[in-house]
Amino acid sequence: MLPQLRRGALEFCVIALLRERPRYGFDIVRELSEADGLLTSEGTIYPLLSRLRKDGLVTTTWQESGTGPPRRYYALTSDGRTALDRFVQDWRRFRDSVDRVLGLGSGQPGTPIELPRAVAERRD
């Protein structure tokens, strides 16, 4: 996938994983690697988490792991939740619009981004 596209979406996939409960880095990576093509190098998740923390979208706490060294847990803040909600809306719109242009129509597109007339006509 395009690096730009993957990176923009990855940020919110990480945030989405924290929606239900706090997680630690390795746990997040394990979940993400289930999805093909999202995370190319596991280690790059830490710069991303650090950035999310700096932006106030997540907070962190240290917790004992029982088996090894303490783990740093990441939890979603209310700003993070708001950002995720917005992304979900934007993503739906964006996905539907791209699908329509590519002819992969998924039935009922929500509110598609307005297409240039030429593109819209060619599609029909």
Partner: protein
């Protein structure tokens, strides 16, 4: 020593990571190395710390250079949560009110739109009577540099000008038609300040 971390391949990897991270801010540098060390520990515990296991774990983690490059890129990235905004994306991110509402006004209050607005509302009123002020008002409201309050004042002044002229004209007419009546004198005096009160130049007639 924690399982696997003393494996030569792991030790070598962490040394290379510290080397690569040299240019990062000091606090973040040691933090990043700790995070990767913790990650490798967890991964080895899950995979097994024999040589193939170690190799596959380090391979998945990615090269130190790659991780540090990501760190640098994200440190320098755009405002909060706008990581995707430089690409073909809508502007995602948190509402972050403080980044949406400008904290200070733009340095210059005078762009082309503002100049046209003032010219339209002043000189325009005489040169092209009705159209001039209308163009002026449209430009005034289109201005991104004037506040709402300033725009309302401009509109009120523009709307009041004809009114003031009419009232003043009527007053003069009344004076002329009743020149002998002394009581009407003060009426004109009362009108005087009303005409001069608004500060804008278009009021002068």
């Amino acid at each position: 020593m924690v399982v696997g971390l003393d494996h030569p391949l792991v030790a070598d990897y962490l040394r290379r990571l510290e080397e690569a991270a040299r240019g990062l801010p000091a606090g973040r540098r040691s933090e990043l190395v700790d995070e990767i060390r913790g990650h490798v520990t967890e991964a080895l515990a899950a995979t097994g710390d024999d040589e193939p296991g170690v190799r596959s774990v380090l391979d998945r983690v990615g090269s130190p250079e790659e991780i540090v490059a990501a760190e640098r890129e994200l440190l320098a990235a755009e405002p909060p949560g706008q990581l995707g905004a430089t690409g073909p994306w809508p502007s995602w991110g948190p509402p972050a009110p403080e980044s949406v509402v400008p904290l200070s006004r733009p340095s210059s209050l005078w762009g082309p739109v503002e100049v046209i607005a003032v010219v339209g509302l002043t000189i325009g009123s005489f040169v092209v009577p009705i159209v001039g002020p209308i163009v002026g008002l449209v430009c005034a409201w289109a201005s991104r540099q004037w506040t709402r309050r300033e725009k309302i004042i401009a509109t009120l002044l523009t709307a009041l000008t004809p009114l003031v002229v009419v009232v003043a004209g009527a007053g003069l007419f009344a004076v002329r038609s009743t020149t002998s009546t002394v009581e009407h004198g003060p009426v004109i005096v009362d009108e005087g300040p009303a005409v001069q009160a608004p500060p804008a130049p278009e009021v002068s007639p």
